[in-house]
Structures are given as C-alpha cells and as structure tokens.
Amino acid sequence: MSLERRDFLKLCAGTVAGLGLSQVFHPGLVMALEQAAKKAPVIWIQGQGCTGCSVSLLNSVHPSIKEILLNIISLEYHPTVMGAEGELALEHMYAVAEQYKGKFFLAIEGSIPKAAQGKYCIVGELGHREITMLELVQELGKKAAATLALGACACFSAGIPGAEGNLTEATSVTGIFKENKISTPVINVPGCPPHPDWMVGTIAHVLMYGIPELDDNGRPKLFYGRNVHENCPYRGYYEDENFSKTFTQKQGCRYNLGCKGPVANCDAWKRHWNNGVNWCVENAVCIGCVEPGFPDDMSPFYESL
C-alpha cells in the first residue's frame, strides 16, 4: 500500500473531507516509513535551547510518540531520551554519522553561540577534549543529507538566545552553514516550540518524498503557508470592530490585546494544540513565535501592532 505525495499533502493540510490528521499515518505509510527509516536515521542535537521542541515532539498524537520512537524514526542520537551517556553516546553518534554519511538527517534544536569560540554551549567531551555546539553543527552538518532547524532558536535570528541584549552571538543553523559554506539543505521548522505535527510531518515528507516545498523563509508551505489573522475564527469580530478589552473577554478580536496573528503564518488556527484542546488565540494572543522577527519584532507582546 502506498500513498501518493499529493494525498499525503492533502492529509497533512487536513483538507480532505472526513479525514483528520490521524489518517495521515495510515498503516501503509507507517510501513513505508519504517523502510525509509532503516536507510536514514535521525541524529538530534541540542544547542542553546530549553528542550521544549523535544517535549513538543513527545506530544505527538497521530502517530503517537510510541509509534514514532519504536517504528517511524530511527532516532540514533537524542540527548533527552537516549539510553547511553558520556563517551558511549558520543562515539555512537559519530559512528552513525560516518556509516550513514550523506544519508542521515540532522535535527538541530537550539541556537549555536559563536562568542568565546563557542564556549557558551559545550555538548560533550571525547578523549578529554570538549566539543562545542559550534564545532558539532559544522562537523555533522557537512555529512548530513539534510538538516532540520527545529524551533525559533535554530531558525532565523536565533529566537530568544539571539534576541537584543544577548552576549553569546547565538546564531541559527542557516547562519552557521552560510558562514562556513556548508551546502547541506536546511529546512526551517520554527515555532516556540513547533507543533508536533509540523516536526513529524516534515520529517515524514523528507523521508518519503524528499524536501517539501518551502516558502521564502525556508519553512514548509504545507504548515506555514497561511496567515493566522486571515483565517482566524475570530476574524468576524475584527470586521465588526468588536475588540476584546481584557484577556478573559472572549467575544471579540484580540488585536488590541497585542495579538500578532496579522503578521504570523502557520496553521495553529485550524490544527490547534495538544490533541486539539486549545490554541494560542483562543486562550490569549498570538506572540508570532513562528516568524523571523521573534521575539524582538513581536515585543511588547501585549501591545497592539
């Protein structure tokens, strides 16, 4: 059983009537993914981040994280979940990168600090030598088939670690690759954190069909192609100039409370979070965490645009 790319895209976008996201990962696709995963493991490394992207991945519903860990993604290195530690873990990572050179996928969570020769983020030690994130990203970046920059910190101007006032010269994956002439393709999957479907969907697309269509900011159009405000369920209130005056007043548009929906592009307005129970604007406001200007251009978060 196979799944045409066109149908996969429709399923991811949730545009096929009567089919939700849960059907994206129907048994046929899971089987195909298992085959693909065996050929292309994932190495997941963390820089200046909070592990929030990994925790968000754990919140994946369809497929469940159990399915992902056991069957879909061959996650050969991941500091938060892997069994090994210390040199055992690092030696394994380098061995996998060598064995699957040009084939493995590199997932990078967190930003990469350049100041002080990278000393603001040490990721491990081998043979009594400290390894910086700066060094590791270059080493693995050159060998990977493609790189996924996960979360606001790894994309654009490096999210909060890269915000005004930072002392560490926190840099995104694209920034490091450009400066060091690394030509491995980078897919930006921003968000603080990204929705699990954005991460799993992108990884699935890469494994099955190659790199998805990207927008000018290097993001998969599939998930980041549409504006939050244009598609917001509260858009009608905006047209009627009915604006919420306080957070708990839900019969109104959140524009005056500081909502950044008009400058944010993602599909949270229809995908919702945490098994669909809520989303940012329903609860409060959008803070524009998927955009290149996050957080500085979105701040103050609670003042209107």
Binding site: G52, T80, L88, C121, G127, C192, T246, P295, P300
Partner: protein, 483 residues
C-alpha cells in the same frame, strides 16, 4: 574550524589504590547541558564536580523590555517546566504591579501548575530516570547501553516497567492536555499573565480536565507508585547511597487561600537537622567557581548581576552557587516532602511509612528521592481533585492592571525540580533588573567561595563505582535530583 574526529579515550583502569578520573559528558536524559567528573579510589567516588555547560543570558535579554513580556520569555528557560517559570514570573509581576488575584484566578493557576507537576514527575521518572533500572528494547534510542548496566529486575517485572514506560508517554501527554485546556498550549503556556489567567474555566473545560485527570491519577496510584516501591525492593542498596548535604529548602507552592497563609507544600528550611522558617533575605549567589565576574559574588537576588566571563581561570561552570545562610541546600521533591511531612499514599502506609519522615535516613538516597517524587505526584493529584471542586465555572480569573512606572517584586514558587525565584525591578516602566534563581542552580551548583561542594557533588561522594567503565551509579545519583 577543525573537525572533531572521535579519539579513543584512554581506558579507565583498575580498582586499586590509585585515583582515576571519570567524566560523564554529556549527562543525557536531563534537561540541558551537564557534565559530571568524578574521581574514584578503591571503587568509591572521592571527589566530584558538576559542570553546567550552557549559557543563554535571559537576564541580560530582559533588560529594557516591557515587564509583562517576562512571563512569556522566562518560561522558555525550560521546556519541561515552563509553567513553573511562568508562575514565578507572574508572581514577581503581581507584586511589582501591586495586584491581588481573584479566588478563581488562584485556583486556575494551581490547576495549570499542578497538571504540569504530574507531567514533569511522570516524564522524569519514566523517560529520564527509568532506563537506569529497567531494560528497554534493543533499538535506538535505547541502545547502546553500558556493557554492565546493573539492571536487576526479573524478566516479568522488567516487562511491566517497559510497558509502563510506553504507557507513561501517553499519560504525560494527557497531563499536557490538562495544562493546555486552561493555559492555551504546552510546552509554553499563553495563559499565565500578571493579574491571573487569561481564560475563565467553563463547565466544558473543567469536565474535559477532570476526565483526563481520572486517567492520570489512576496511573499514579496503580502503576507509578507500585513500581517505585518494587524498585526499592530490587535495589535496596540504592536506599543507602547518595546521601547529600541534608540541608533542605522549600519556598512554598500551591497557595490554598487568597492571603497565602497556607500552601499545599509549605515554605521552610531544614538546616543541620532543625526545622526553621524561611527567610529569603538569607539567599546569596556565589561565583568564585562559576564563569562570572568575581566582583559579583555573594549578592542577594535583588542585587544580582549576570556578567559572564567564560575564560575565568579556576571556574568550571555557568551555574552560579546559591547558598542559604551560607549553607549548601538541596531543593526538590525530597526537600518539600520532608519539610511539609505529609501523610503518604496507602501503599506506603501499608509498608509502615505513615509520613515522609518515617523513611528516616533512607529518604536521603537515590531511591529516597524517587519515592519523594512519586509520593508528591500522588499528593498533588489529591489536591487537584479538591481544586476541581472549588473552581467556579464562569467566575473571573483575571484582574486588569497597568504597567507601573517603578516597582519591584519577588516571585517565589517551586518548580517540580525545586525552589524557583524570579526577581524583577521596574524603572521607567521597563525591566531594569531581572534575576532568575532556578532549581538547578541549587542542586547542580559548583563549589562556593567557602569551598563547599554543591548538593549533587556532595551526594556523589562515597558512591560505589566498582567498575569505572560502567559508572552506572553516577548517572543514577544525578538523575535522582532531576537537574
């Protein structure tokens, strides 16, 4: 920059009288970047150092911003406990803005933080710590593992552990759904703001929360707690290992009344065997062994400075060393449960432990800390059941407030992994100073200016490492603190 080809590490040798150094870097299955180095002599740890290997500089980034942004920005310090950072931040802001919550606002905040306590404790035990005791399937990311991993469960019990690991993935996800119902989404909640929360709980949302909660509390009662006590039987020596400094601290968490006279887990200190009331003015942060400017050492949080100096000789960590009355203090579930000393679960009662302090010396150990965490999950779950009856559908949870021109606030709470303090100073309506004193600063701190080792460093001293190539007990001690 040159590549970093793996070099063969010199093999650690023998058990004789010579000292050998073992570095575990990275310490995996924790949140963040940590290295631990131990010196082993005659099969026991004789010295230990904790290296915090990452600095982002949130405190510097906050300067000059709208104070209300702090709760959104600072919760991104930790993706496992963002609700705790958001809670500390909004508590600091509440004071700086001089706003008092509504009763429903207080309860809604407890329901948001409480659900994430359950999530964090379950995630920590199963997905971070359990692989030190339970043998997972032989597939990535569970392999490679140590050659001699000292895994002692019989196949049947081990299978129960593996099944629970997988089930716990769904249970912790369900906890996040509970947080998100009232907090917007997880990780990183939209719903915690100065003045309360942004969403009034509706009857629908309360029911949706309750329905999930029932599944979670059943898991804690029927699976998590029993497994912890099963481990205690299978690894009895680990109830005698990893004692630590035995000074404990708790700022108090989950206010039970609007005046904050009572907390589910009460504020207090336990210093050199004596209970004391908590005096926040006795907290200082030392930096002699941390990569920060020497002249900024010994400052209290409201005078705190964050000026990194990554090349400082003699220093070994980006973690500062906070001390209380110049004492090294452990924070976290063990500290909270010891200080409050609540009644334990029926399963503990059956075994003869009525209250936390009935565990006596065994509480101060690797597995003692896991027992405290699991029992705390049960205690918090019981409290959530009560708050669900107290919360009023439709009653206001938010008090509108304006950014003051000047102000100051201490926001103290407890993250799942320990005492958490945010301090804000507002000048000209923007942040003039912001200091975060996170739980990991207490537990994973390096030495202080008085030469005293941090809590994890102290807990590692004396730990048996019979085989330097398989230093399993080192990782067990560190993870028991949930750094």
């Amino acid at each position: 920059m040159a590549g970093c080809k793996p070099k063969q590490a010199p093999a650690a040798v023998g058990l004789g009288g010579e000292k050998i150094k073992i570095a575990v870097d990275p310490v995996t299955r924790i949140e963040g970047h940590l290295k631990v180095e131990v010196e082993v002599k005659n099969g026991q740890v004789v010295d230990a150092r904790c290296f915090g290997g990452m600095f982002r500089g949130f405190e510097n980034i906050l300067i000059g911003r709208d104070p209300r942004d702090a709760s959104q920005l600072t919760q991104r310090i930790c993706g496992v406990c963002p609700t705790a950072h958001a809670t500390a931040s909004v508590r600091a802001l509440d004071r700086a803005f001089n706003v008092k919550l509504t009763t429903n606002g207080r309860i809604a905040r407890n329901l948001i933080l409480g659900a994430n306590y359950l999530q964090s404790h379950i995630l920590h035990f199963y997905h971070l710590a359990a692989l030190d005791y339970v043998k997972a399937p032989d597939v990535a990311p569970f392999v490679p593992r140590y050659n001699k991993p000292d895994l002692r469960l019989d196949p049947k019990t081990n299978q129960i552990g593996v099944d629970q690991y997988l089930k716990a993935l769904e249970i912790r996800r369900t906890c996040h759904e509970m947080v998100a119902l009232l907090g917007g989404r997880m990780p990183h909640v939209q719903g915690l703001v100065v003045g309360g929360t942004t969403e009034i709980p509706t009857a629908d949302k309360i029911v949706a929360y309750l329905w999930r909660f029932k599944e979670v509390i059943a898991f804690i009662e029927n699976e998590y707690l029993p497994l912890i006590y099963t481990l205690a039987k299978a690894y009895p020596d680990l109830l005698e290992t990893g004692t630590g400094c035995k000074n404990l601290l708790c700022y108090g968490v989950f206010p039970l009344d609007d005046e904050e006279n009572t907390f589910l887990l009460k504020p207090g200190a336990f210093i050199e065997g004596k209970d004391e009331s908590l005096d926040p003015s006795q907290i200082q942060e030392y930096v002699r062994y941390s990569w920060f400017k020497d002249e900024d050492t010994g400052l209290p949080p409201n005078k705190g400075k964050t000026r990194p100096e990554p090349e400082k000789p003699g220093a070994y960590s980006f973690i500062k060393a906070p001390r209380y009355k110049n004492k090294v203090c452990e924070v976290g579930p063990l500290a909270r449960m010891w200080i409050t000393n609540p009644e334990l679960s029926p399963i503990a009662q059956k075994a003869g432990f009525k209250r936390m302090r009935d565990l006596k010396e065994k509480a101060f150990s690797i597995l003692g800390r896991h027992v405290a965490r699991a029992e705390e999950a049960y205690l918090v779950a019981k409290a959530i059941a009560k708050w669900l009856k107290e919360v009023k559908p439709g009653a206001e949870t938010y008090v509108k407030t304006e950014v003051p021109k000047t102000g100051e606030g201490w926001g103290m709470t407890e993250a799942p992994r320990g005492s958490l303090l945010h301090y804000i100073k507002i000048k000209d309506s923007v942040v003039a100073n912001y200091q975060v004193l996170a739980a990991t600063l207490w537990n994973a701190s390096p030495k202080d200016d008085l030469g005293q080792r941090g809590p994890i460093e102290q807990a590692l001293i004396g730990v048996p490492v019979p085989d330097p190539k398989n230093p399993v007990n080192v990782g067990r001690v560190i993870r028991a603190f949930d750094p």
